[in-house]
Symmetry: C2
Subunit: 563 residues, 2 copies
């Protein structure tokens, strides 16, 4: 089966230039680049001077953060020109362990979006976390037999990597023994510490947020994954690293991006447009998003329009704006005139579906479950910082007499993190400032990285109500007021994802957010996002986990009451 695309301007990622040529495709592979005007092909299309560039590659993404299944994600990003993603199923692995990884592998099998997998390196994120599973080196090792597994994902435990934690060294060794790569995650690490970390064989980082930080990484041989997602937007701070010689070692990634943002702005195409709009070469931006991502992961014959390469390519109406008309995946047209063609949903074994859709093990809750017995007058309150995942510790006098410590005037709300994987009944209860809820309660099962049930409320009755709603849905986010659910977003797959498509998810998410704003949260705050990171015990300073308050700076539990 031969396809001939005639009269195109090819974006050549090897020469950073345009090339007038026809492209001849046989089955899934490009076999000709040049004048093929006299060649017979089964399908022949005259592109009349339109552009062809390679399909884009997202070098690091958590599918779970899009809340979509791989199938729905593929439908959302293929029209954006993304033909390959490198996914780290870290979130679902924290809930479902190796079954979570298997689910992502099966749920992405045979999609026109190629889904490569990096194995989650740090499940759970800290030894204090109560996650659904603990993944040791021996749990990950069998996955290296899977064709689409490219290596070990972001090594977040950089102190462990540096000091030589045995399980971490084993995980890295297994990756290398299988000729795979190891990605990094070490924000702000520099100098000797960085050298020691990189020396373990950590090839990349996507957590850099400044030019100097990015430059140091490149100088020391790492691939710099320039991230532009929903919360973390690093491109503009590092944009001059898309100039020579640094651009040679850059890759583009989204990491975490919500469906509404994908629908509105795009995916990797959005990062390219942003780079071009800010004065960078479109050839560089495309090269970084294609052949370099492929090189970073050792993906052969991917990421270029050249003989022998996989026919993953885009037809563009316009180069600078990355106006994508058609998308080819392995030689098949999957997007035509911006319209996605239909394709089959991967079939997933029942056992895995059962596992990921039954991930909630927690008894129904009552108002009493959220009541604290006062031990002192002063408490440590988690003080959120607008637009950041960082929090501060705020020690203040509480009023336990009238409302169990909740103080709406000073914006002190109650927060609870409830273990939901093994029905241990473990729960952490505390107080939070900076959310702005005036009535009702909100809750979510997306709570990094262990994804226990997190609830914030203005009163305990609504907290129990909204928590029970989420338990009933088998996961998701919701808001309650006066004992009634006012809006909800079910995420029945591991409590993280839904079968809904991007539009429906974006819409439900929008409705829920509006409902939360109705409860008094100021529009300057992203309540769900903020809530989802309050339990992440690796971002300073004060966090809440299932066993209570956690002081990230001293990396140890701390008391709620200050006696």
């Amino acid at each position: 089966m031969k396809t001939l695309l005639k009269n195109a301007k090819i974006v050549n990622v090897f020469t950073d230039s345009l090339m007038d040529a026809d492209v001849l495709i046989e089955d899934d592979k490009i076999i000709g680049l040049g004048d093929y005007s006299d060649t017979n092909a089964d399908i022949c299309e005259d592109l009349k001077g339109k552009y062809i560039c390679p399909g884009f590659i997202d070098g690091h993404i958590h599918i779970e953060s899009t809340m979509m299944t791989p199938y729905e994600l593929s439908k959302a990003v293929l029209p954006c020109g993304t033909t390959s993603i490198v996914a780290d199923p870290h979130e679902i692995a924290n809930v479902c362990g190796t079954d979570g990884i298997k689910y992502i592998i099966e749920a992405s099998e045979g999609l026109p979006l190629k889904v490569y997998i990096m194995l989650p390196s740090c499940v759970p994120a800290t030894p204090f976390d109560e996650s659904g599973c603990v993944l040791k080196a021996e749990d990950l090792k069998p996955f290296y037999k899977e064709k689409r597994v490219l290596g070990l994902a972001e090594m977040m435990n950089y102190p462990g990597a540096i000091s030589g934690d045995l399980d971490i060294l084993n995980k890295i060794k297994d990756a290398f023994d299988n000729n795979k790569v190891v990605d990094g995650h070490a924000p702000l690490l520099t100098g000797h510490g960085l050298d020691a970390y990189i020396s373990r064989g950590i090839q990349s980082d996507h957590e850099c947020s400044s030019y100097e930080e990015g430059k140091e990484r490149i100088s020391k041989g790492q691939w710099l994954m320039v991230r532009e997602g929903t919360a973390a937007k690093n491109l503009l701070n590092m944009i001059d690293l898309l100039d020579e010689p640094f651009s040679r070692r850059c890759v583009l990634v989204t990491d975490d991006k919500h469906p509404a943002d994908i629908l509105r702005d795009g995916h990797i195409d959005h990062i390219i447009r942003l780079a071009v709009k800010n004065g960078k070469s479109v050839f560089t931006a495309i090269r970084v998003a294609t052949i370099q991502a492929a090189n970073c992961f050792g993906l052969k014959y991917t990421g270029a329009v050249a003989p022998g390469y996989k026919a993953d390519l885009l037809v563009l109406n316009n180069l600078e704006e990355i106006d994508i008309k058609d998308v080819y995946s392995e030689g098949k047209k999957v997007v035509e005139n911006k319209k996605l063609k239909e394709y089959d949903k991967p079939s997933i074994s029942k056992q895995l579906v059962n596992k990921v859709t039954n991930s909630f093990f927690i008894d129904k809750l009552t108002e009493k479950d959220f009541i604290l017995s006062k031990e002192a007058n002063k408490c440590r309150v988690i003080k959120t910082i607008k637009g950041q995942l960082l929090t501060d510790e705020w020690i203040t006098e509480m009023n336990f007499e009238t409302s169990n410590g909740i103080d709406l005037e000073r914006d002190i709300l109650k927060i609870a993190v409830l273990e939901r994987h093994h029905n241990t009944g473990h729960k952490g209860i505390g107080f939070i400032n900076g959310i702005g809820l005036k009535e009702g309660a909100i809750a979510c099962s997306v709570s990094h990285d262990s994804h226990n049930l997190i609830v914030i409320g203005s009163n305990e009755a609504d907290m129990a109500c909204v928590a029970n709603a989420i338990i009933e849905m088998g996961g998701g986010c919701a808001a309650a007021k006066n004992g009634k659910i006012v809006s909800s977003l079910p995420l029945p797959i591991a409590g993280l994802m839904s079968e809904d498509d991007a539009s429906l998810l974006a819409e439900k998410n929008h409705v829920l957010r509006e409902a939360i704003y109705e409860l008094g949260v100021p529009r300057t705050i992203a309540p769900l996002m903020t809530m989802a990171f309050v339990s992440l015990a690796v971002i300073p300073s004060l966090k809440l986990i299932t066993t209570g308050l956690f002081d990230v700076n001293s990396f140890s539990p701390t008391d709620l009451f200050v006696k």
Copy 2:
């Protein structure tokens, strides 16, 4: 064991710039790059501003062409800064088959020069060749288990690759199935033919000789191996491909280089110097010769001075002239102040030594063996072209009355190619013009690619004399006059290589060449080189093989006598 190299200027191949830093090495690996002045190390050296760059990599070399064993070659090129070579044992495989490959692997085991192997793809070079062995896909396949085997070497049979010859496709498939690469060899191939050839997965070419040819290869995704050896010197014709963006896809190689040239000019360092002398950036040239060669072959953590990388590095007194003071191989100083340190010769199993040193199977010859019975007056004479491997066909009236066709006035000498692998008695006899011998005879067992015994003479008696000398030596080159050997260069390993070191080989080669010039050959001619390629039936036009004259243009045998 830690080594600290302080106060160096690091050539950073990721940023094309110098970086003031200390380099901290632990065992075989770089673990620090920056300010380590306060660090304790077992060995500490203050480089006082000298330069450090990564060790050089020769991306394509035939060790046999240096006539040295891997051990002696390592001694010759380590002081030139070459710490890794990618060798294609094509010549010895033509003589000894898989035992030849095994010999090269064993003879290079544990050397401070890392010898990587590409498996010879085309043994014999043509179906008309009578080589020592025929290597099919199944013969090569087991070698992919060897750690140092990186892939399949130069695919010279490009018509076969294009048309889809089954054995060739199997060889390529085996390389890919083992996650290895396939190098190319397709001089002047362009357009559709080139596309079809590259589409098979051929990743590189080292036979390009012009800017346009090289540029097409790069545009189509191949690595361009810029070659500068003894006979083939391609750098200057393609030097502008060492500018951006093309340089990103270049690698430096020597392919075939004689010991005298290595001793006089250097190795990869010579190519870098030549590039710099001709106006190219020293950073680009070093990058091309280091990290890019590593990337081309998927060699991880090789080719840069960065944390986690193998400590293969050079200390330079001067950057532009690549004045190499010290050489480190995997953290060990192997060259100090330009002086090589001693290291062990690899031990080779007796069976292999026996095999490669007993590669001559041909009975003693007499004058009569070189006499032709006249079938017509006119003959096809091989007409050599000065400075080229190409030959012309010259049809001329012969004088068989007085000297069996030999005509010294018209420089028509007798030439014979004698099968020497299986004692078949096969021989091709013909005439050659352009050598200039006035008396005596010369002979050699280096005769591409099958390495049969080739003899050129002014009379049959000396031809028999010199041929028998080579048979007695078990291989080599020699000159005879009046029934006596006047000079000889024994090459007892497969008839291609010697245990001598570079100086001794260069000296013996020099003495032999002088002796040949004494026999009347003009000094403008390289007699041994010319002789070695007269039997290579893939370079046009008229060649002599063991079965007689061969017309390369029609790719078929042809008659000596024109009736």
